[in-house]
Symmetry: C3
Subunit: 203 residues, 3 copies
């Protein structure tokens, strides 16, 4: 089931990436590239950092076709997208937890400890958006809005705790999903934010 959620998640992330490229007036190739980077970039950074080859989309190029089609589809239905913001916030929340769980699992399967596994989850969940913003020449949004990386971080440790408490693999995934998803939606609803650090060189 995590697999189908993953496919749904990369599709949704690709569509948000395509919108970012559209805000910058990129051409269709740029739209496709930013969409693919947003959807698959987090996992790619994780795999490159951990030396986990081949990368997911190199092994499964059909994911690239899926995200590319999602990008072009977004171009077609762009006027509609303005009315779907709530839907995409929900899909993005689902994707965040799915990416995080997959990232944790990848590192655990490679034999790493919990701290690296947690970071692997956060990187997988968050870095697609960071790369999207770097490609579109923005300051990464994920560090300026409602809890996002924080949700991934908490979800990863919640997942490890479920495992530690003796729950089955599937139970742990399901519980983390429900908990992380609720946490993210609550963060959006009530504008929970990490404290910001404002620094200027003048006193």
């Amino acid at each position: 089931m995590l697999h189908y959620i993953y496919l749904m998640a990369i599709t949704a992330e690709a569509m948000t990436g395509a919108l970012s490229a559209g805000r910058r007036g990129m051409d269709w190739f740029g739209v496709i590239l930013v969409a693919c980077v947003t959807a698959l970039g987090g996992g790619s950074v994780r795999d490159i950092v951990l030396g986990h080859y081949p990368l997911t989309w190199v092994k499964h190029p059909e994911y690239l076709i899926l995200t590319s089609i999602a990008a072009l589809f977004t171009v077609m239905i762009a006027p509609l997208m303005r009315h779907l913001r709530s839907l995409f916030l929900v899909l993005d929340a689902i994707g965040l937890i799915a990416f995080t769980l997959i990232g944790c699992q990848t590192a655990l399967d490679m034999g790493y400890g919990l701290l690296i596994a947690s970071l692997s989850g956060v990187v997988t969940g968050v870095f697609g958006g960071v790369l999207r913003d770097i490609f579109c020449n923005d300051i990464p949004l994920v560090f300026r809005r409602e809890l996002y990386a924080g949700v991934a971080f908490v979800a990863s440790w919640f997942y490890f705790a479920c495992d530690y408490l003796g729950l089955s693999h599937n139970q742990a995934i399901l519980l983390t999903f429900l908990g992380g998803f609720a946490f993210r939606l609550l963060a959006i609803r009530f504008h929970w934010e990490m404290p910001k650090f404002q620094y200027s060189d003048e006193g």
Copy 2:
């Protein structure tokens, strides 16, 4: 022969990278770095993504010396460069096809299928310029001007088709070169562009 064209191409790309750094007023070290990244960054991203070690310039550090010299040479003859724009568009077109062919071949030699080989070609051809623009804090140009990534994409499939039709390796390379080069020059001459995607959050 592809080898000599490659050397010519990284030299030309290094020179365009040096000009970009100069537009931002970087010092000579920055000029050299941006030049090397522009010339060798596409192949480096490809190698890192595919896990193809050692990277080209790590194996052949003499390429770095070549691109560094080209960067400093550009600084010397900068006032002249304004009159050489057409020449550099031509050299860049040659380089784009050379990089694309080398990128395709690298992936095919590693046993990947045509889709990944095509993407490997596009990344090798295009990502040097993308990284140059990220280092210089610009929105990547290649997605906002005349067909560029599109030329690399078409050239890669043209190359596979030549191979499929039974042409010899050298014939396939030569034909792709002529076709891709003509395609790129026509795109510049007649301002062929990919459709752009303009999106704004307001209606």
Copy 3:
């Protein structure tokens, strides 16, 4: 001893990274990320480019904890930081040479020649700051201020020369440290800069 200097250096670099994130008003997660990237990004780029796995901080996640604590500590004492600029210039100079030496040594241990070892040193010393500026959406500073990459470059060849002249490993490291450190401080004091390259498309 180089090990303790390294720990001091990543702490200091993390703190400068945290300040950069604060200038952009990022939240605490962003501050921690930029701090870790600044402190450990140079070595990570080096390891990824050379295919040197596992990365330092993947093998020693305790370094991440150290840099994260340093980042949060910086948030606490931010008003104080304005008065510590000279101290941080000194710590940064020490870190630059330490990173450079470690980068050189890593490449030499992998069997690479002097040119790649030198570049490995420069990348380790300089790229943390380059990535920090890309994440914070700035034009990389290291190529626009007093000699920085240049100091790393000269220090690496000075180190090789010490080795060539028959000095012991420890003597070579100590001498490079003193020489590189003095060179960097003199560069700051007397505003030694690389010549800049100013280019504009109009004549």
